[in-house]
Symmetry: C2
Subunit: 195 residues, 2 copies
DNA sequence: GTGAAGTTTGTGAACATTCACTAACTTTTA
DNA sequence: TAAAAGTTAGTGAATGTTCACAAACTTCAC
């Protein structure tokens, strides 16, 4: 929504915030470090954002918008549910391997505690994924590509849980292993399991 | 290991720490709040622990020990892999529904960032679960109870991911919904999927 | 038994540091 | 020349931690 109204400088700031986030985590994301990374003073931050919280909110809002668009395109690019499923996660892995800082932002519960607004922004990101996954799973179930022995909701829960744990492990490993390769394995395993 | 060497007072302190953790999250777990909950001064804390970090480490070490024992008992109480699988998670849900603060302690990545020692303590807790799950899955695969189309490792990943996401949602919901009931549904869904 | 010595568990005050944020002033830019 | 973007220098509040000290209890010597 408000991701469009961002100035170049604001974009740079949330990029830096992301860089810090993936490097030192939430506890490292301080106004001091952010200013340091931006190579200007702390107070200069407040020329561009009203508060630190707003910076994080903007980052999450931008991420939500971007993810929504990307997932939409990924789904549209394919015809069958299985291909769409693969395309969705392929797109996700691709995105996160290029923007690993968003992994911390979106899947970190430490951030969750900061404020009500941030908490809700994270929920919205989860909802976006759900939104794109649900119709895909449902038509897949109708066509017999996926099991209908299990509720679509629960299927999505399992899929999203598997994905989240991958991101968690990847982050614990300091983003060292190849998330695309490792990720595709798990997605393939999920597909095998779901059919 | 060192969970045995704890004094009663130390036990009380980590209990209070847990209470705070589940009520106000990591950011609420300050020496001030902890002392407040203990109804004594902040400095008294340092009569029992060398640092705040050591308090958290002790809590996690205690949890690891406790979980190891509980999971071992759960597995031993049953004979077939499927029953063992169910017993394991039933035990987990039971435990967490009584000790919801451990959910925050064990599944919060915010805590992860605090120190190397804490990070490793969390990894050890994950390893404990893995240790109990692996032989169970493997014999289940040999006996034909579970699919062998998928690697045991990946199967465990999917199971643990599903479990973690449940805990995450439960915590986001402020521990309101019935984790035992909701949890059993997911476990049943997993069993359906895995056979 | 009684007093000296030592331990445990607490207190309140201070500590150095970090945090997000602000006011007043100066420089850059269009 | 006026707005936008930056600086310097500060704020109060919160953080974890250490300090000297004291009350209550146990241990031990005479």
């Amino acid at each position: 929504m408000q991701a469009f109204k961002m100035s170049k400088r604001q974009q740079e700031i949330i990029d830096c915030a992301g860089k810090i986030l993936s490097k030192s985590g939430i506890s490292g994301l301080t106004t001091k470090n952010l200013a340091l990374e931006m190579k200007f003073s702390e107070s200069a931050l407040y020329r561009h954002f009203k508060s630190k919280g707003k910076i994080i909110e903007s980052m999450l809002a931008y991420m939500e918008h971007d993810m929504d668009q990307r997932l939409g395109e990924a789904v549209q690019s394919k015809d069958t549910p299985i291909e769409q499923f693969q395309a969705m996660f392929s797109s996700q892995f691709d995105f996160f391997s290029k923007n690993s800082h968003f992994v911390v932002a979106a899947f970190s519960d430490g951030l969750m505690e900061e404020s009500r607004a941030i908490n809700q922004a994270i929920k919205k990101i989860m909802a976006v994924k759900y939104k794109h996954l649900m119709p895909l799973i449902q038509t897949g179930q109708k066509q017999g590509d996926f099991t209908d022995k299990i509720d679509a909701k629960q299927l999505i829960h399992i899929v999203m849980g598997t994905f989240r744990l991958m991101m968690f492990k990847w982050r614990m490993d300091d983003f060292k292993f190849d998330i695309k390769k490792e990720g595709d394995k798990h997605i393939q395993a999920l597909l095998t399991l779901m059919s």
